[in-house]
Protein backbone atom coordinates (compact mmCIF):
# COMPACT_ATOMS: atom_id res chain seq x y z
CA UNK A 1 0.00 0.00 0.00
CA UNK A 2 1.13 3.57 -0.53
CA UNK A 3 1.58 6.05 2.30
CA UNK A 4 -1.55 8.17 1.84
CA UNK A 5 -3.72 6.27 4.34
CA UNK A 6 -0.81 6.17 6.82
CA UNK A 7 -0.49 9.94 6.52
CA UNK A 8 -4.24 10.36 7.22
CA UNK A 9 -4.12 8.00 10.21
CA UNK A 10 -1.12 9.76 11.73
CA UNK A 11 -2.53 13.24 11.07
CA UNK A 12 -5.67 12.25 12.98
CA UNK A 13 -3.43 12.16 16.05
CA UNK A 14 -1.87 15.62 15.53
CA UNK A 15 -2.98 16.32 19.10
CA UNK A 16 -0.31 13.89 20.28
CA UNK A 17 2.50 15.90 18.72
CA UNK A 18 3.89 19.42 18.81
CA UNK A 19 5.00 19.91 15.21
CA UNK A 20 8.61 19.23 16.19
CA UNK A 21 8.98 15.76 14.73
CA UNK A 22 7.17 13.27 12.55
CA UNK A 23 8.33 10.40 10.44
CA UNK A 24 7.53 7.32 8.42
CA UNK A 25 9.27 4.11 7.46
CA UNK A 26 8.24 1.78 4.68
CA UNK A 27 9.57 -1.66 3.73
CA UNK A 28 9.70 -2.80 0.11
CA UNK A 29 10.10 0.66 -1.43
CA UNK A 30 13.33 0.11 -3.35
CA UNK A 31 12.70 -2.97 -5.52
CA UNK A 32 15.25 -1.67 -8.08
CA UNK A 33 18.05 -2.05 -5.52
CA UNK A 34 17.01 -5.08 -3.48
CA UNK A 35 20.57 -6.15 -2.59
CA UNK A 36 21.89 -2.71 -1.64
CA UNK A 37 21.77 -1.08 1.75
CA UNK A 38 19.77 2.12 1.34
CA UNK A 39 21.56 4.70 3.45
CA UNK A 40 19.45 7.79 4.13
CA UNK A 41 21.62 10.67 5.29
CA UNK A 42 20.92 14.19 6.54
CA UNK A 43 23.64 16.51 5.24
CA UNK A 44 24.11 20.04 6.54
CA UNK A 45 25.69 20.79 3.17
CA UNK A 46 26.82 18.63 0.30
CA UNK A 47 30.46 19.75 0.22
CA UNK A 48 32.65 18.84 3.23
CA UNK A 49 30.51 16.28 5.08
CA UNK A 50 29.37 14.60 1.89
CA UNK A 51 32.86 14.18 0.46
CA UNK A 52 33.91 12.55 3.75
CA UNK A 53 30.94 10.17 3.65
CA UNK A 54 31.64 9.36 -0.02
CA UNK A 55 35.26 8.58 0.86
CA UNK A 56 34.35 6.37 3.83
CA UNK A 57 31.75 4.41 1.87
CA UNK A 58 34.10 3.96 -1.11
CA UNK A 59 36.70 2.50 1.24
CA UNK A 60 34.29 -0.11 2.62
CA UNK A 61 32.34 -0.99 -0.51
CA UNK A 62 30.69 0.29 -3.66
CA UNK A 63 28.18 3.11 -4.02
CA UNK A 64 25.87 1.64 -6.65
CA UNK A 65 23.73 4.74 -6.94
CA UNK A 66 23.19 7.98 -5.04
CA UNK A 67 20.83 10.94 -5.24
CA UNK A 68 19.13 13.66 -3.26
CA UNK A 69 15.87 12.31 -1.78
CA UNK A 70 13.12 14.15 -3.67
CA UNK A 71 11.41 16.69 -1.41
CA UNK A 72 8.74 19.32 -1.92
CA UNK A 73 8.73 22.57 0.05
CA UNK A 74 6.00 22.91 2.67
CA UNK A 75 5.12 26.34 4.05
CA UNK A 76 5.14 25.19 7.68
CA UNK A 77 8.26 23.04 7.46
CA UNK A 78 11.69 24.64 7.81
CA UNK A 79 14.39 22.84 5.87
CA UNK A 80 17.27 22.14 8.24
CA UNK A 81 19.11 19.40 6.39
CA UNK A 82 19.49 17.95 2.91
CA UNK A 83 18.11 14.39 2.82
CA UNK A 84 20.29 12.19 0.61
CA UNK A 85 20.28 8.49 -0.21
CA UNK A 86 23.00 6.04 -1.17
CA UNK A 87 22.48 2.52 -2.44
CA UNK A 88 25.54 0.84 -1.05
CA UNK A 89 27.11 -2.59 -1.35
CA UNK A 90 29.67 -3.32 1.37
CA UNK A 91 32.74 -5.33 0.44
CA UNK A 92 32.45 -8.21 2.87
CA UNK A 93 36.02 -9.38 2.29
CA UNK A 94 37.16 -6.35 4.26
CA UNK A 95 35.54 -7.50 7.53
CA UNK A 96 37.77 -10.45 8.26
CA UNK A 97 36.66 -12.91 10.91
CA UNK A 98 33.05 -11.81 11.12
CA UNK A 99 30.11 -14.14 10.62
CA UNK A 100 27.98 -11.20 9.47
CA UNK A 101 30.51 -9.05 7.58
CA UNK A 102 28.02 -6.96 5.59
CA UNK A 103 26.00 -5.95 8.63
CA UNK A 104 29.12 -5.26 10.64
CA UNK A 105 30.45 -2.96 7.92
CA UNK A 106 27.14 -1.08 7.84
CA UNK A 107 27.08 -0.66 11.62
CA UNK A 108 30.71 0.45 11.63
CA UNK A 109 30.17 3.03 8.89
CA UNK A 110 26.86 4.31 10.31
CA UNK A 111 28.32 4.71 13.80
CA UNK A 112 31.52 6.17 12.30
CA UNK A 113 29.65 8.78 10.27
CA UNK A 114 27.22 9.72 13.04
CA UNK A 115 29.87 10.15 15.70
CA UNK A 116 32.80 11.26 13.53
CA UNK A 117 31.63 13.37 10.59
CA UNK A 118 30.12 16.73 11.50
CA UNK A 119 27.16 17.69 9.34
CA UNK A 120 26.23 14.15 8.34
CA UNK A 121 23.75 11.83 10.04
CA UNK A 122 22.71 8.41 8.74
CA UNK A 123 19.13 7.81 9.87
CA UNK A 124 18.21 4.76 7.80
CA UNK A 125 20.43 1.87 6.76
CA UNK A 126 18.38 -1.20 5.79
CA UNK A 127 17.83 -3.04 2.53
CA UNK A 128 14.82 -2.20 0.39
CA UNK A 129 13.37 0.08 3.05
CA UNK A 130 13.70 3.65 4.16
CA UNK A 131 12.94 6.17 6.89
CA UNK A 132 11.58 9.61 6.03
CA UNK A 133 11.46 12.09 8.87
CA UNK A 134 11.79 15.77 9.76
CA UNK A 135 10.80 18.33 12.37
CA UNK A 136 7.23 19.17 11.47
CA UNK A 137 3.62 18.04 11.64
CA UNK A 138 2.71 14.57 10.29
CA UNK A 139 0.93 15.85 7.18
CA UNK A 140 3.70 18.34 6.35
CA UNK A 141 6.46 15.77 6.71
CA UNK A 142 4.42 13.32 4.59
CA UNK A 143 3.91 15.95 1.88
CA UNK A 144 7.56 17.08 2.09
CA UNK A 145 8.69 13.58 1.09
CA UNK A 146 5.52 12.77 -0.94
CA UNK A 147 5.11 9.71 1.18
CA UNK A 148 2.08 8.70 -0.91
CA UNK A 149 4.40 8.01 -3.85
CA UNK A 150 6.09 5.10 -2.00
CA UNK A 151 4.57 1.64 -1.95
CA UNK A 152 5.47 -0.56 1.02
CA UNK A 153 4.26 -3.75 2.67
CA UNK A 154 5.07 -2.60 6.23
CA UNK A 155 4.60 0.98 7.40
CA UNK A 156 5.40 2.61 10.71
CA UNK A 157 4.56 6.24 11.40
CA UNK A 158 5.16 8.49 14.38
CA UNK A 159 4.19 11.92 15.63
CA UNK A 160 6.53 13.36 18.21
CA UNK A 161 5.99 15.59 21.21
CA UNK A 162 9.53 16.05 22.52
CA UNK A 163 9.55 16.53 26.27
CA UNK A 164 13.01 16.20 27.72
CA UNK A 165 15.27 16.08 24.66
CA UNK A 166 15.46 18.49 21.70
CA UNK A 167 13.06 18.39 18.77
CA UNK A 168 15.21 18.10 15.65
CA UNK A 169 15.28 16.13 12.42
CA UNK A 170 17.49 13.35 13.76
CA UNK A 171 15.40 13.07 16.93
CA UNK A 172 12.18 12.35 15.05
CA UNK A 173 11.02 8.74 14.94
CA UNK A 174 11.28 6.12 13.46
CA UNK A 175 14.79 5.24 14.55
CA UNK A 176 16.50 2.72 12.35
CA UNK A 177 19.57 0.51 12.20
CA UNK A 178 19.96 -2.10 9.46
CA UNK A 179 16.61 -3.83 9.17
CA UNK A 180 15.23 -2.58 12.51
CA UNK A 181 12.96 0.41 12.83
CA UNK A 182 11.43 1.67 16.05
CA UNK A 183 8.63 4.04 16.96
CA UNK A 184 8.05 4.82 20.61
CA UNK A 185 5.59 6.73 22.75
CA UNK A 186 6.87 7.50 26.25
CA UNK A 187 10.18 7.89 28.01
CA UNK A 188 12.80 5.31 28.78
CA UNK A 189 13.92 6.30 32.25
CA UNK A 190 16.46 3.48 32.29
CA UNK A 191 18.18 5.10 29.29
CA UNK A 192 21.47 5.54 31.16
CA UNK A 193 21.77 1.84 32.00
CA UNK A 194 20.53 0.72 28.58
CA UNK A 195 22.91 3.11 26.81
CA UNK A 196 25.90 1.84 28.78
CA UNK A 197 24.89 -1.70 27.87
CA UNK A 198 24.59 -1.11 24.11
CA UNK A 199 27.70 1.10 24.02
CA UNK A 200 29.69 -1.63 25.76
CA UNK A 201 28.56 -3.81 22.85
CA UNK A 202 29.87 -1.46 20.19
CA UNK A 203 26.90 0.78 19.44
CA UNK A 204 27.12 4.58 19.70
CA UNK A 205 24.16 6.74 20.74
CA UNK A 206 24.18 9.90 18.66
CA UNK A 207 20.57 11.04 18.31
CA UNK A 208 20.29 12.87 21.68
CA UNK A 209 17.19 10.97 22.67
CA UNK A 210 16.22 7.76 24.44
CA UNK A 211 14.45 5.78 21.72
CA UNK A 212 17.52 4.95 19.65
CA UNK A 213 18.68 2.47 22.31
CA UNK A 214 15.63 0.34 21.51
CA UNK A 215 16.83 -0.11 17.93
CA UNK A 216 20.29 -1.13 19.17
CA UNK A 217 18.85 -3.45 21.82
CA UNK A 218 16.78 -5.21 19.18
CA UNK A 219 19.82 -5.51 16.90
CA UNK A 220 21.95 -6.88 19.74
CA UNK A 221 19.39 -9.32 21.14
CA UNK A 222 17.59 -10.14 17.89
CA UNK A 223 20.31 -10.26 15.27
CA UNK A 224 23.50 -10.94 17.25
CA UNK A 225 22.06 -13.14 20.02
CA UNK A 226 19.34 -14.52 17.74
CA UNK A 227 16.53 -14.29 20.29
CA UNK A 228 12.99 -14.49 18.85
CA UNK A 229 10.78 -11.42 19.29
CA UNK A 230 8.81 -12.75 22.27
CA UNK A 231 12.08 -13.42 24.15
CA UNK A 232 13.39 -9.95 23.31
CA UNK A 233 10.22 -8.44 24.75
CA UNK A 234 10.60 -10.64 27.86
CA UNK A 235 14.09 -9.17 28.26
CA UNK A 236 13.09 -5.54 27.71
CA UNK A 237 9.77 -5.65 29.62
CA UNK A 238 10.17 -8.64 31.96
CA UNK A 239 7.48 -10.13 34.17
CA UNK A 240 7.35 -8.99 37.78
CA UNK A 241 9.26 -11.28 40.15
CA UNK A 242 6.06 -12.28 41.95
CA UNK A 243 4.58 -13.36 38.62
CA UNK A 244 7.72 -15.31 37.76
CA UNK A 245 7.63 -17.00 41.18
CA UNK A 246 4.10 -18.26 40.58
CA UNK A 247 4.87 -19.79 37.15
CA UNK A 248 5.29 -23.46 36.30
CA UNK A 249 8.93 -24.65 36.77
CA UNK A 250 10.02 -24.61 33.10
CA UNK A 251 8.50 -21.24 32.41
CA UNK A 252 9.84 -19.89 35.69
CA UNK A 253 13.40 -20.97 34.84
CA UNK A 254 13.18 -19.42 31.40
CA UNK A 255 11.82 -16.08 32.64
CA UNK A 256 14.28 -15.98 35.51
CA UNK A 257 17.21 -16.71 33.17
CA UNK A 258 16.19 -14.02 30.69
CA UNK A 259 15.62 -11.45 33.42
CA UNK A 260 18.98 -12.18 35.07
CA UNK A 261 20.96 -12.39 31.81
CA UNK A 262 19.50 -9.25 30.32
CA UNK A 263 19.16 -7.09 33.44
CA UNK A 264 20.88 -4.09 31.79
CA UNK A 265 18.55 -4.39 28.78
CA UNK A 266 15.43 -4.06 30.92
CA UNK A 267 13.61 -0.85 30.15
CA UNK A 268 11.94 1.20 32.83
CA UNK A 269 9.47 4.02 32.40
CA UNK A 270 6.34 4.46 30.33
CA UNK A 271 6.47 3.11 26.80
CA UNK A 272 4.37 1.90 23.92
CA UNK A 273 6.70 0.62 21.19
CA UNK A 274 6.42 -0.90 17.75
CA UNK A 275 9.49 -2.42 16.10
CA UNK A 276 9.58 -3.48 12.47
CA UNK A 277 11.91 -5.72 10.51
CA UNK A 278 11.55 -6.80 6.88
CA UNK A 279 9.74 -9.97 7.98
CA UNK A 280 7.27 -8.52 10.49
CA UNK A 281 6.43 -6.21 13.34
CA UNK A 282 6.18 -6.48 17.11
CA UNK A 283 4.34 -4.10 19.44
CA UNK A 284 4.43 -3.98 23.25
CA UNK A 285 4.03 -1.65 26.22
CA UNK A 286 5.65 -1.34 29.62
CA UNK A 287 4.49 -3.84 32.26
CA UNK A 288 2.25 -1.44 34.14
CA UNK A 289 0.72 0.02 31.00
CA UNK A 290 1.57 3.69 31.23
CA UNK A 291 1.01 4.22 27.50
CA UNK A 292 -1.86 3.18 25.21
CA UNK A 293 -1.71 0.46 22.56
CA UNK A 294 -4.60 -0.78 20.44
CA UNK A 295 -4.48 -3.67 17.99
CA UNK A 296 -6.66 -4.26 14.95
CA UNK A 297 -6.50 -7.54 13.09
CA UNK A 298 -8.44 -8.11 9.89
CA UNK A 299 -6.78 -11.42 9.05
CA UNK A 300 -4.52 -10.18 6.26
CA UNK A 301 -3.41 -7.00 7.91
CA UNK A 302 -2.29 -6.19 11.43
CA UNK A 303 -2.60 -2.65 12.80
CA UNK A 304 -1.00 -1.38 16.01
CA UNK A 305 -1.71 2.17 17.15
CA UNK A 306 -2.06 4.50 20.12
CA UNK A 307 -5.68 5.13 19.16
CA UNK A 308 -8.46 3.03 17.68
CA UNK A 309 -9.62 5.99 15.60
CA UNK A 310 -6.32 5.96 13.68
CA UNK A 311 -6.81 2.29 12.78
CA UNK A 312 -10.37 3.00 11.66
CA UNK A 313 -9.08 5.80 9.44
CA UNK A 314 -7.33 3.13 7.37
CA UNK A 315 -9.87 0.34 7.84
CA UNK A 316 -13.27 1.77 8.95
CA UNK A 317 -15.08 -1.55 9.30
CA UNK A 318 -12.42 -3.61 11.03
CA UNK A 319 -14.11 -6.02 13.45
CA UNK A 320 -11.38 -7.54 15.59
CA UNK A 321 -10.01 -4.65 17.63
CA UNK A 322 -8.59 -5.09 21.13
CA UNK A 323 -6.17 -3.89 23.79
CA UNK A 324 -3.30 -6.34 24.42
CA UNK A 325 -2.09 -7.03 27.96
CA UNK A 326 0.70 -4.82 29.27
CA UNK A 327 4.15 -6.13 28.39
CA UNK A 328 2.82 -8.89 26.15
CA UNK A 329 4.14 -8.76 22.58
CA UNK A 330 1.78 -8.52 19.61
CA UNK A 331 3.60 -10.07 16.67
CA UNK A 332 2.76 -9.74 13.00
CA UNK A 333 4.60 -11.75 10.38
CA UNK A 334 4.88 -11.06 6.70
CA UNK A 335 3.28 -13.85 4.70
CA UNK A 336 4.15 -14.03 1.03
Amino acid sequence: MDGSAIKDALSLMDERGSGEGAGYVAYGIYPDFPDCYALHVFFDNIVEPKSKVDDLLSKWGVIVHQEEIPTYEQPRLKRQHIPWRYFFKPNKDLMVGSLTPEEDIIIKTVMGINSGINGALVFSSGKNMGVFKAAGWPEDVANFYRIDSYKGYIWLAHNRYPTNTPGWWGGAHPFNLLDWSVVHNGEITSYGTNRQYVESNGYKCTMSTDTEVVAYLFDLLGRKHELPENFIVKALAPHFWDEIDSMQPRERELNRAIRLTYGPAMMNGPFGIVVARSDGIVGFTDRIKLRPLVVGDDGDRLYISSEEAAIRTVDPDIENIYMPKAGEPVIGRVVI
Binding site: L12, M13, E15, F240, D242, I288, K289, P292, V294, E307, E308, A309, A310, R312, T313, I321, M323, K325, A326
Partner: protein
Protein backbone atom coordinates in the same frame (compact mmCIF):
# COMPACT_ATOMS: atom_id res chain seq x y z
CA UNK B 1 -36.27 29.08 20.81
CA UNK B 2 -37.36 25.64 19.66
CA UNK B 3 -37.97 23.03 22.34
CA UNK B 4 -37.63 19.25 22.06
CA UNK B 5 -35.65 19.58 18.93
CA UNK B 6 -33.47 16.84 17.56
CA UNK B 7 -30.31 18.07 15.89
CA UNK B 8 -28.14 15.86 13.68
CA UNK B 9 -24.49 16.79 13.16
CA UNK B 10 -22.22 15.03 10.68
CA UNK B 11 -18.85 15.08 12.42
CA UNK B 12 -16.84 13.62 9.51
CA UNK B 13 -13.57 15.50 9.19
CA UNK B 14 -14.51 18.19 11.73
CA UNK B 15 -11.94 19.07 14.38
CA UNK B 16 -13.19 18.89 17.96
CA UNK B 17 -13.25 22.65 18.54
CA UNK B 18 -15.80 23.49 15.82
CA UNK B 19 -17.65 20.25 16.66
CA UNK B 20 -18.07 21.32 20.29
CA UNK B 21 -19.13 24.78 19.10
CA UNK B 22 -21.87 23.13 17.01
CA UNK B 23 -22.99 21.09 20.03
CA UNK B 24 -23.08 24.14 22.28
CA UNK B 25 -24.96 26.13 19.66
CA UNK B 26 -27.55 23.35 19.37
CA UNK B 27 -27.96 23.29 23.15
CA UNK B 28 -28.34 27.06 23.18
CA UNK B 29 -31.00 26.79 20.48
CA UNK B 30 -33.00 24.44 22.71
CA UNK B 31 -32.07 21.03 21.36
CA UNK B 32 -32.86 18.17 23.76
CA UNK B 33 -31.41 15.47 21.54
CA UNK B 34 -28.24 15.74 19.50
CA UNK B 35 -27.06 12.99 17.16
CA UNK B 36 -23.39 13.00 16.17
CA UNK B 37 -22.66 10.87 13.13
CA UNK B 38 -19.30 9.69 11.78
CA UNK B 39 -17.36 10.61 14.87
CA UNK B 40 -13.74 9.48 14.56
CA UNK B 41 -11.18 10.39 17.17
CA UNK B 42 -12.50 13.86 18.10
CA UNK B 43 -11.43 14.51 21.67
CA UNK B 44 -13.17 16.44 24.41
CA UNK B 45 -16.73 15.95 23.10
CA UNK B 46 -19.35 17.56 25.40
CA UNK B 47 -16.62 18.72 27.75
CA UNK B 48 -17.78 21.05 30.54
CA UNK B 49 -21.23 21.03 28.98
CA UNK B 50 -23.97 21.93 31.49
CA UNK B 51 -27.32 21.03 30.00
CA UNK B 52 -30.25 18.68 30.05
CA UNK B 53 -29.54 17.05 26.70
CA UNK B 54 -29.06 13.57 25.26
CA UNK B 55 -26.13 13.18 22.88
CA UNK B 56 -26.05 10.06 20.73
CA UNK B 57 -22.58 9.42 19.35
CA UNK B 58 -22.00 7.09 16.39
CA UNK B 59 -18.37 6.11 15.83
CA UNK B 60 -15.29 6.29 18.03
CA UNK B 61 -15.08 9.48 20.11
CA UNK B 62 -11.55 10.52 21.08
CA UNK B 63 -10.12 10.84 24.57
CA UNK B 64 -11.73 12.65 27.50
CA UNK B 65 -15.33 12.36 26.33
CA UNK B 66 -17.56 14.27 28.77
CA UNK B 67 -14.72 15.76 30.79
CA UNK B 68 -16.11 18.17 33.47
CA UNK B 69 -19.54 17.48 31.97
CA UNK B 70 -22.47 18.27 34.22
CA UNK B 71 -25.86 16.88 33.29
CA UNK B 72 -25.95 15.55 29.72
CA UNK B 73 -26.46 11.90 28.82
CA UNK B 74 -23.99 10.64 26.20
CA UNK B 75 -24.82 7.36 24.49
CA UNK B 76 -21.89 6.01 22.50
CA UNK B 77 -22.52 3.47 19.75
CA UNK B 78 -18.94 2.29 19.42
CA UNK B 79 -15.77 2.19 21.51
CA UNK B 80 -14.20 5.08 23.41
CA UNK B 81 -10.53 6.00 23.64
CA UNK B 82 -8.88 7.00 26.93
CA UNK B 83 -10.56 8.55 29.97
CA UNK B 84 -14.24 8.96 29.13
CA UNK B 85 -15.91 10.81 32.03
CA UNK B 86 -12.65 12.42 33.19
CA UNK B 87 -13.56 14.58 36.23
CA UNK B 88 -17.19 14.37 35.14
CA UNK B 89 -19.54 16.15 37.53
CA UNK B 90 -23.00 14.87 36.71
CA UNK B 91 -24.92 13.10 33.94
CA UNK B 92 -24.39 9.73 32.28
CA UNK B 93 -22.15 8.11 29.71
CA UNK B 94 -23.51 4.85 28.28
CA UNK B 95 -21.02 3.03 26.07
CA UNK B 96 -22.14 0.25 23.73
CA UNK B 97 -18.61 -1.08 23.41
CA UNK B 98 -15.29 -0.79 25.26
CA UNK B 99 -12.99 2.00 26.42
CA UNK B 100 -9.28 2.67 26.61
CA UNK B 101 -7.26 3.28 29.77
CA UNK B 102 -8.28 5.45 32.75
CA UNK B 103 -12.04 5.31 32.20
CA UNK B 104 -13.86 7.54 34.72
CA UNK B 105 -10.54 9.19 35.64
CA UNK B 106 -11.05 11.46 38.70
CA UNK B 107 -14.81 11.28 38.21
CA UNK B 108 -16.72 13.21 40.88
CA UNK B 109 -20.38 12.55 40.08
CA UNK B 110 -22.77 10.94 37.60
CA UNK B 111 -22.74 7.44 36.14
CA UNK B 112 -20.80 5.59 33.45
CA UNK B 113 -21.96 2.26 32.05
CA UNK B 114 -19.59 0.31 29.79
CA UNK B 115 -21.08 -2.73 28.09
CA UNK B 116 -17.81 -4.61 27.39
CA UNK B 117 -14.24 -3.91 28.52
CA UNK B 118 -12.26 -1.06 29.98
CA UNK B 119 -8.48 -0.66 29.84
CA UNK B 120 -6.00 -0.20 32.67
CA UNK B 121 -6.63 2.04 35.70
CA UNK B 122 -10.39 2.26 35.35
CA UNK B 123 -11.83 4.63 37.95
CA UNK B 124 -8.42 5.98 38.90
CA UNK B 125 -8.81 8.63 41.59
CA UNK B 126 -12.62 8.68 41.60
CA UNK B 127 -13.86 10.76 44.52
CA UNK B 128 -17.06 11.58 46.35
CA UNK B 129 -18.32 14.40 48.52
CA UNK B 130 -21.63 14.85 50.27
CA UNK B 131 -24.36 13.89 47.77
CA UNK B 132 -21.90 13.55 44.88
CA UNK B 133 -21.05 9.91 44.34
CA UNK B 134 -19.72 8.74 40.96
CA UNK B 135 -20.63 5.28 39.65
CA UNK B 136 -18.76 3.16 37.08
CA UNK B 137 -20.35 -0.13 35.96
CA UNK B 138 -18.42 -2.44 33.61
CA UNK B 139 -20.08 -5.40 31.87
CA UNK B 140 -17.27 -7.77 30.90
CA UNK B 141 -13.85 -7.05 32.33
CA UNK B 142 -11.21 -4.50 33.26
CA UNK B 143 -7.41 -4.54 33.06
CA UNK B 144 -5.08 -4.05 36.03
CA UNK B 145 -5.11 -1.30 38.65
CA UNK B 146 -8.89 -1.01 38.75
CA UNK B 147 -9.79 1.80 41.18
CA UNK B 148 -6.18 2.92 41.64
CA UNK B 149 -5.84 5.77 44.20
CA UNK B 150 -9.60 5.70 44.52
CA UNK B 151 -10.94 8.23 47.04
CA UNK B 152 -14.68 7.69 46.71
CA UNK B 153 -17.52 6.44 44.56
CA UNK B 154 -18.45 2.96 43.43
CA UNK B 155 -17.07 0.66 40.71
CA UNK B 156 -18.99 -2.50 39.80
CA UNK B 157 -17.38 -5.12 37.57
CA UNK B 158 -19.85 -7.74 36.36
CA UNK B 159 -17.56 -10.20 34.57
CA UNK B 160 -20.24 -11.14 32.03
CA UNK B 161 -19.07 -13.97 29.68
CA UNK B 162 -15.71 -14.24 31.49
CA UNK B 163 -14.15 -17.64 32.15
CA UNK B 164 -13.18 -18.03 35.81
CA UNK B 165 -12.61 -15.41 38.50
CA UNK B 166 -11.10 -11.98 37.92
CA UNK B 167 -7.29 -12.16 37.77
CA UNK B 168 -5.79 -8.73 37.09
CA UNK B 169 -3.25 -7.35 39.55
CA UNK B 170 -3.36 -4.22 41.71
CA UNK B 171 -7.09 -3.92 42.41
CA UNK B 172 -7.61 -0.71 44.40
CA UNK B 173 -3.89 0.02 44.60
CA UNK B 174 -3.56 3.04 46.91
CA UNK B 175 -7.29 3.18 47.60
CA UNK B 176 -8.36 5.40 50.50
CA UNK B 177 -12.11 5.75 49.91
CA UNK B 178 -15.01 4.30 47.93
CA UNK B 179 -15.78 0.69 47.05
CA UNK B 180 -14.89 -1.69 44.23
CA UNK B 181 -17.39 -4.49 43.71
CA UNK B 182 -16.35 -7.48 41.61
CA UNK B 183 -18.66 -10.30 40.65
CA UNK B 184 -17.49 -13.67 41.95
CA UNK B 185 -14.49 -14.37 44.12
CA UNK B 186 -11.20 -12.51 44.04
CA UNK B 187 -7.90 -14.04 45.12
CA UNK B 188 -6.13 -11.91 47.75
CA UNK B 189 -2.96 -11.74 45.67
CA UNK B 190 -4.73 -9.50 43.15
CA UNK B 191 -5.50 -6.85 45.76
CA UNK B 192 -3.37 -3.71 45.55
CA UNK B 193 -1.48 -2.07 48.40
CA UNK B 194 -3.92 -0.57 50.90
CA UNK B 195 -6.94 -2.54 49.64
CA UNK B 196 -8.85 -5.20 51.58
CA UNK B 197 -12.01 -7.21 51.18
CA UNK B 198 -15.08 -6.09 53.09
CA UNK B 199 -18.40 -7.48 54.11
CA UNK B 200 -21.25 -7.22 51.64
CA UNK B 201 -24.09 -5.72 53.64
CA UNK B 202 -27.78 -5.43 52.79
CA UNK B 203 -27.65 -1.74 51.81
CA UNK B 204 -24.72 -2.33 49.51
CA UNK B 205 -26.44 -5.30 47.86
CA UNK B 206 -29.56 -3.19 47.28
CA UNK B 207 -27.47 -0.50 45.62
CA UNK B 208 -25.63 -3.08 43.48
CA UNK B 209 -28.88 -4.70 42.35
CA UNK B 210 -30.41 -1.37 41.45
CA UNK B 211 -27.37 -0.42 39.35
CA UNK B 212 -27.24 -3.88 37.74
CA UNK B 213 -30.87 -3.47 36.71
CA UNK B 214 -30.11 -0.07 35.22
CA UNK B 215 -27.05 -1.49 33.40
CA UNK B 216 -28.98 -4.44 31.98
CA UNK B 217 -31.80 -2.18 30.90
CA UNK B 218 -29.48 -0.02 28.76
CA UNK B 219 -27.87 -2.96 27.01
CA UNK B 220 -30.85 -5.27 26.84
CA UNK B 221 -29.22 -7.94 28.99
CA UNK B 222 -31.11 -10.38 31.22
CA UNK B 223 -30.48 -9.22 34.81
CA UNK B 224 -31.74 -12.40 36.54
CA UNK B 225 -28.39 -14.27 36.67
CA UNK B 226 -26.78 -11.19 38.30
CA UNK B 227 -29.34 -10.58 41.05
CA UNK B 228 -27.73 -12.76 43.73
CA UNK B 229 -25.12 -11.95 46.35
CA UNK B 230 -22.08 -13.40 44.55
CA UNK B 231 -20.07 -10.18 44.77
CA UNK B 232 -16.76 -9.32 46.42
CA UNK B 233 -16.50 -5.86 47.96
CA UNK B 234 -13.10 -4.20 48.15
CA UNK B 235 -12.31 -1.00 50.02
CA UNK B 236 -9.49 0.79 51.83
CA UNK B 237 -7.78 -1.08 54.64
CA UNK B 238 -8.36 1.88 56.97
CA UNK B 239 -9.62 5.45 56.78
CA UNK B 240 -6.05 6.70 56.30
CA UNK B 241 -4.10 3.71 54.97
CA UNK B 242 -1.14 5.86 53.90
CA UNK B 243 -0.99 8.18 56.89
CA UNK B 244 2.56 7.10 57.74
CA UNK B 245 3.92 6.82 54.20
CA UNK B 246 5.72 10.15 53.94
CA UNK B 247 5.40 11.55 57.44
CA UNK B 248 5.48 10.09 60.93
CA UNK B 249 3.05 11.11 63.58
Amino acid sequence: MVLDEKVVIDARGIHYTPLNELIRQAVEDGATEIVLKNVLGQRFIADALKADVCIEIYGVPGGDLGMFMSGPVCIVHGNCEHAPGNTMDDGKIIIHGSTGDAAAHSMRGGKIFVRDYIGYRGGIHMKEYDQKKPILVIGKSAHSFLGEYMAGGLIILLGIDQKGPYFERGIGSGIHGGRIVIRGTVDDRYLGVGARKMELNENMLCEIHSLVKEFCNYFNIDDKPLMDNDYTVIGPSSSRPFAGKYTWE
